[in-house]
């Protein structure tokens, strides 16, 4: 297990699967980032004239949707959304989960029991129902999506961190830190947390994949990001009724979601492989 980011990148380079994953994710990130300059058309421009022939043409490489909006441009702008909301949500979950896991594992006893039982209770709810309740109550917005993902994913991350903490807290170097009077926050953040870095980074990318799916599902259920801004899940939802007439309108955004999820999974697999035999 290595420590520096540069070393992680070097490790990743040794794993073919990881490289494929990184390539997919980086391509989407580049497309999303450069969407304002690269996108051939404004994503929300409705052109009824194009609906007569919505299939791919020289002007609209991936065709247009049922309102005559350019699919490629919407995909690029959609990548922008999903690649902001998903990492923000997972980062939030990682921060909250790490904190809870560290405290639960280190303090043990009643604190541990209470935190873990609350987490278990949260995990016992079907996630999608939680999403529905929160979004229905507080409205569909990027912030609410981030908040609900943070809260529902944090317990799982807390478990990972807690497991590492339980293992590490009885190591002699933690005792040595206590013997020089280090405050608890220092022991947690500087002595214990760095040892959870490996599993956390792998989990981070896996979880990004799941969150991309979750955001897609929310969009598909019509409680994702508010229209008309492009969102892959809503693109599927808006067009699936006509899937047998104009399949490309549904399949292309669906493929986009799948490819990004696969990209994150490959990246996670690559990092795990690399860290295991490194």
């Amino acid at each position: 297990m290595t420590a520096r980011p540069a070393a992680w990148i070097a490790l990743l380079a040794r794993s073919p699967v990881g490289c494929v994953g990184a390539a997919i994710v980086l391509s989407w990130a580049a497309l999303g980032l450069l969407a304002p300059w690269l996108a051939p058309h404004p994503p929300n421009r409705i052109d009824p004239a194009l609906i007569a022939y919505p299939y791919p043409t020289a002007a609209n490489w991936l065709g247009v949707d049922q309102l005559g909006r350019d699919i490629l441009s919407r995909l690029m702008w959609g990548a922008r959304t999903v690649l902001t909301v998903a990492p923000a949500a997972v980062l939030g979950a990682a921060a909250l989960g790490t904190l809870l896991g560290l405290v639960a594992g280190y303090k043990g006893g009643a604190v541990d029991s209470i935190l873990m039982r609350v987490g278990d209770t949260l995990l016992a709810f079907p996630k999608i129902i939680l999403y529905l309740i929160v979004i229905a109550r507080f409205g569909a917005s990027a912030f609410n999506i981030i908040a609900v993902v943070t809260v529902t994913q944090a317990p799982i991350i807390a478990r990972i961190v807690r497991a590492v903490t339980l293992d590490v807290k009885n190591r002699d170097y933690v005792a040595a830190a206590r013997m020089r009077g280090e405050p608890t926050w220092f022991v947690l953040l500087a002595e214990i947390l760095p040892n959870a870095r490996g599993p956390l980074i792998v989990d981070f990318f896996l979880r990004l994949g799941y969150t991309v799916i979750a955001i897609g599902v929310l969009g598909f259920l019509g409680i994702g990001l508010p229209p008309p801004d492009p969102d892959w899940g809503s693109m599927i939802k808006e067009s699936y009724g006509t899937i047998f007439v104009w399949p490309h309108m549904t399949l292309i955004p669906a493929l986009a979601v799948s490819s990004l999820v696969i990209g994150f999974n490959f990246l996670a697999t690559g990092l795990r492989e690399a860290s295991e035999d490194g």
Binding site: D172, A175, M179, R180, G181, P194, N195, R197
Partner: protein
Amino acid sequence: MGDILAFEGVSVEHRGRRGTSRILDGVDLSIAPGEAVGLVGESGCGKSTVALAAMRYLPRGMSLSAGRVLFEGRDLAAMGEGDLRRLRGRRIAMVYQDPMSSLNPVMTIGRQLVEVPMLHGERDEARARARAVAMLREVRLPDAEATMDRYPHQLSGGQQQRVVIAMALMAEPSLLVMDEPTTGLDVTIEAAILELVRELRARFGTAILFISHNLGTVARLCDRVGVLYAGRLVETGGVREVFRAPAHPYTRGLLDALPDLDRPRGGARLAPIAGTLVAEDRARPGCAFLPRCPNGVPASCGSGAIALSEAGGPGHLARCARLAELPARVAAAVDAATQAEEGPVLLEARGVGKWYEVGGGMTGKPRRVIRALTDASLEARRGGTLAIVGESGSGKSTFARVVAGLAGEARGGLSLDGEPLYGGVDSRPRALLRRVQMVFQNPDSTLNPSHSVGYALMRPLRRLRGLGAEEARQEAARLMARVQLPAELAERRPWQLSGGQRQRVAIARALAGDPDLLVADEPVSALDVSVQAAIVNLLADLLAGSDMALVLISHDLALVRHMADRVAVMYLGRVVEYGPAAQVFAPPWHPYTEALLAAAPRPDPDAPPPEIVLSGQMPSPAEEIRGCVFASRCPRRMEGTCDTTAPPERVFGAHRIACHLEFAPPPG
């Protein structure tokens, strides 16, 4: 009749991502029927690979690159899978270090034992069972019938190892391969297992390949011995010749590095072997030991392959280019009586105890009290070493942790320089934290893998001495020099260091606050003997000329004899004997001390077998014991007294023994 097992120029290579490395290099070894051959060497020398090669059971990536392994005259490499399977378990049996990895946790002992004859052609299960019970009796397990129905986890470590030995002997093999069979066990259990193996060998005539890093166990059991270094056999011969007149500098180094149980401390130093075995040494054309050898001359030792040549007696061979020119082995310098006077009392423990409560509450288990430490009264003096010996479960580490403040609040009174020592580290003021520091046992967990060596040293300097960043950096460099570490290691991470280097960093870290009291819990027990000696010398140097006191926790009596001014012997949480080292190591003894001394392995083939071999095992610390804690295992137990009444304290000056026996006061 020919040899049971013969290695003829066996080389084993490991192919990995980082290229090919040679694990064994031209090993010649033979074992005659009924013979016990020992194989010694430090970690990484290839001992275990020999054991695996003897069964053609090399792990993935390793392969035989030259030579032949013959078992009863048949080449193992030429055998088919079926033949091999019949051979393993039936003709060759193996006993590993960790008995739990050889026993199936979900099967009863009986089923696992009965399986052996059933697999090898027995048809009648009742007969197989009867043999299993008989074999459990052979390995001296009490109540063999009941043991058949137990699961492995219900037995103690020593009992588990007996079961593994019974299982190995069930098929009446002609060769028993034992890889560190007693390494995880306490000395008294180890002595009992070694006695058992000696007896069984005499009864069944089984040949034994005995692999160990512990020279004492090899001396006690084996007829011949081979010394491995970097995959090459550097010396071989009768156990007497090799231990009495070691020829190869490496063998000499191994023997000289050991502290001597029969010689008291007196400022004498151990003789460590310089350096460590590094990967490049394996590929060295001449002698792999050259970079560490005190007698090495690159011109003659580093040029080409060196053959085994006769050293002294017949059959005693050593692989050294300068065998004829080696200086005679000098015995370690005779102890000058330079033992420094001990200073005033620094740490005083009065009736210190630590009880844990387990169970109860929501666990659904009954509440029980674990008495880890009871009524310990000891003192450590400035400039002196207080050693605490005992087996696992004796409470010696608990005492260390109580003193260090890592065990929380404890019972009784603990004071440092007459001032009370507060309970846990979290309630100790910084000035007090600085004064008591600790060196831990395990070099793998003593340093945080996420921090560099420099950081590990600078942090306590800043916390405990309040130094600024630049001062701390300079002081860290000074500390590293003090523990004889090269300055460039400051940038390294722990995994880039050897075990000995890590332990030096741990010592430097403990010294950072300039403590008055250093607690060292088994500081060298995880290290190879040659490295052990260097760390012991370092600790002695640090103590000499300082008024720091050392509390040394150890299970190794020879080490304690070498280092300690005062010794406390602990059993089941109680101090059973305590006094100045010279008096504790001389009679009268507490029966437990006597048993420990008898059990301690000595690297001397002519040492008499231990007169006292303790049977049974330590009771659980959750049991309430009304009489003497040692009564259940004591060879001198007086029924009706020892098991009912707590023992009185027999006092001879500074020497105290808690025992019912009437001792004659020592002469003088």
